[in-house]
């Protein structure tokens, strides 16, 4: 049987919620060997088991802090030994050396970026998330939302949420920013944004040692952009599947009424969390250098609820640690309830938000692990829509 691509997605410290976009898109593209890694997994040498390591959007400062010098070094050697690194937004900044005195990150690719300046242009909106201090200058975000990129032969749309325009030589360039559209949100003057972005690289490929880095500004993994997803698919199809994947995790096989009770208990907490998250208004938390808005929590919770609804139809499910996932669901609800109470009194809630994000990630990770384990085992009958164990 032919090997399939083993993909590790980083969801550890500093990863934002956009890793769920990768999960949904890879699932739709029928990649089933999807695994989730945090900084501890990297430090324990888990990268050796993968063909491809995805570093999604988030806060590169926090990612670097979490991985530490040793973790970053392990990522470097993963690429040098033939692995493929795909960075999006934070994952791209982490890999670039874009100024003379870079932060001690991966620094694998010497490519300047157009949105780094000592004196950035003035923001016209979203002041709170427009600028990130970096050394003696600032990384600024000229636009957000949908825009156009070109491969040279074709133009398509993809969303940008902070990724850089890169000044790369032609041999590295896969796509350039080619235009804005009606949904592009300008954070600086429109003409200044055009000068900063258009005609510069939105995606590059850089061979390093035996491996490759693919670095993207836009989120080609966003599930609402099918052509961008196809572009990502085309790249994945060029990678030779050589890795064996991580060792199997010890699982509890939940079945029948026991599984239904467990899923229902999670749905109860996640639904309550959704109600609570809906009730939050205009809350923002700065965690590291990343600004989290309450709607990002809602996105996470909505996706969890959809996944759980899907899992209610299963008759059997492998779960790594059912009790701990149950606790994370309860924690999620508890943190949200606490945030609601404190925020009503105008009190600071960043600590609770940080704990909430942690619980949400752990629960999402655990449930998606189960989902992909189930898919890999092909424990259901052949009917396309029939996920009942037979």
């Amino acid at each position: 049987m032919a090997k399939s691509l083993k993909i590790g997605i980083f969801i550890g410290k500093g990863a934002s919620y956009s890793w769920i976009w990768f999960v949904k898109t890879f699932d739709a593209l029928d990649f089933n060997d999807i695994f989730f890694l945090d900084e501890n997994d990297v430090l324990h040498g888990q990268l050796d088991h993968f063909d491809c390591f995805i570093l999604p959007g988030g806060d590169p400062f926090q990612v670097a802090e979490g991985l530490g010098e040793q973790g970053l070094s392990l990522v470097r050697s993963f690429v040098e030994r033939g692995g493929t690194y795909i960075g999006v937004c934070a994952g791209t900044y982490l890999a670039l050396r874009f100024c003379e005195d870079p932060m001690p990150w991966l620094n694998l690719v010497d490519v300047p970026i157009r949105n780094y300046a000592r004196t950035p242009p003035e923001a016209v909106r979203m002041q709170y998330k427009y600028l990130v201090p970096y050394r003696d200058g600032f990384v600024f975000h000229p636009v957000r939302g949908s825009l156009e990129v070109t491969t040279g032969d074709e133009v398509f749309k993809a969303p940008l949420y902070g990724g850089p325009p890169m000044v790369a030589p032609p041999e590295m360039r896969l796509l350039d920013y080619s235009g804005f559209d009606a949904k592009t949100l300008y954070l600086i003057d429109e003409h200044e944004a055009q000068r900063t972005m258009l005609g510069h690289a939105a995606g590059i490929r850089v061979p390093v040692g035996g491996g490759n880095l693919y670095l993207f500004g836009p989120h080609f993994e966003h599930p609402h952009y099918p052509r961008a997803n196809q572009f990502l698919h085309e790249i994945l199809c060029t990678i030779s599947p050589l890795a064996d994947g991580p060792p199997a995790l010890p699982v509890t096989l939940l079945q029948g009424p026991e599984l239904r009770r467990w899923v229902t208990s999670l749905r109860r907490d996640v639904s309550s969390s959704r109600v609570l998250a809906n009730g939050l208004t205009d809350l923002r938390w700065k965690i590291g250098e990343k600004v989290w808005e309450d709607e990002k929590i809602l996105y996470f919770v909505n996706e969890l609820l959809k996944l759980l609804k899907d899992l209610t139809r299963y008759d059997v499910l492998p779960v790594c640690d059912p009790a701990s996932l149950r606790r994370e669901a309860q924690n999620m609800r508890m943190h949200l309830a606490e945030i609601r109470v404190l925020s009503k009194d105008g009190m600071e809630t960043t600590r609770q938000a940080s704990a909430l994000i942690d619980s949400t990630k752990k629960l999402s990770k655990g449930l998606y692990e189960s989902y992909f384990m189930f898919k890999r085992q092909h424990w259901w009958s052949n009917g396309e829509n029939n996920r009942t164990h037979s």
Partner: protein, 409 residues
Amino acid sequence: MDNMYTEYYLVVDLATGTAEEIELEEEFVQEYVGGAKLNMALYEEHKDGEPIVLGTGLFTGTLVPGSCLGVITAKSPVTGKVAHAPFSWGAGAELKLTGYSFVVIKNAAEAPTYLWLHDEIADFVDASALWGKNVWDAVDIIRDEQGEDRIQVLSIGKAGENKVTTAQIVNNYWGDGDRFGFGALFGAKNLKAVAMRGMGELEIDDADAFIEKTEALLGVVKKQIAGKSGFSALDFANIPAALKAAAEKQMHRVEADFNNPLPYKFFLKYREDPTTMASTKVEEPGVLVSDPIGYAALGAAVAPEDAAEVLEACFKLGLNPVAVAGKLTAKDKAGAIAELEKMAESSKADAFDAVLSPFAPASERAEAAYIAGICPVLAAAAEALNAEALAELASIGTGLDFDADAFKL
């Protein structure tokens, strides 16, 4: 049921604290369509448990104009018949989007309980601390406890707790046309409230055709109700001129239910300047006249300028204003409110003969509206919302075959 409804309905047994999801079968919908008619079939099926059925119409929560209606069906302690009362505003749509288009509530809980429905989850929540609270406080506590202000709550006040037949079920803070003493049934079941928050989705068989037809229907409905708003939409309520004049002085705004193009409800302010549009710190500035007939009845019992505040007292106590207005002897506001407090402990509604709540004009269109989940006040004002038009839309939306007779009780 694949289209227009949720997959399941719920049967709740308060005595055992259990809830069972039952598949809502296509054949059942084909035979009983929805709303009052389907509620009735569920009532008959579960009659032994003295059920209260909360149900939605086929169009509740959809784009069809006026699709706000939910229906409460139970045996009325006032009429002795199985009867149907409306619940509108946002609660009808909310019920369907919790994942349960219909909820059958059987038997009685041992201790005060409220039912919390969310995302296909039914929770039985201890309501001991809510028992004795007025409706407004109970709604606030439930919303605070569960964490969102958009939670829709059907609840009872002191009147329902005391099982008086003048009690009514109140929709959030506002009375909503329960003339049948269903509030007393909640009280008898130890059921303080049903709270709902749903963010589900509905499927439509032929969505493009359904949207096209619905938009065309909305265009016609808008022409038929052109210029109607507030009082001008309420000829049937017989609001006397003196009461209208008093209300004009307190008028703050008109309001409409979920997806209802007819804004017939109006908010009166008497604890702050009604011309103030900005939010102020006055917590309870006035009342939403969600029950114009009840308001008119109270306006005949007390001074017109006091009717709104007495209506507020009815809503807080969970009393049916129509049933209590004729029993008031005090003409002053304070005296009337004190009498209402006593009526919430012990009073009896006069029997009358109706199966649909006399909240809006009775007609064939009202019947169709109670089955379809359309606001009966809008249905009375817009001829386009007739059984033939609704049957055509129902066929497009469900992929089943309905005729006008399906929309008759």
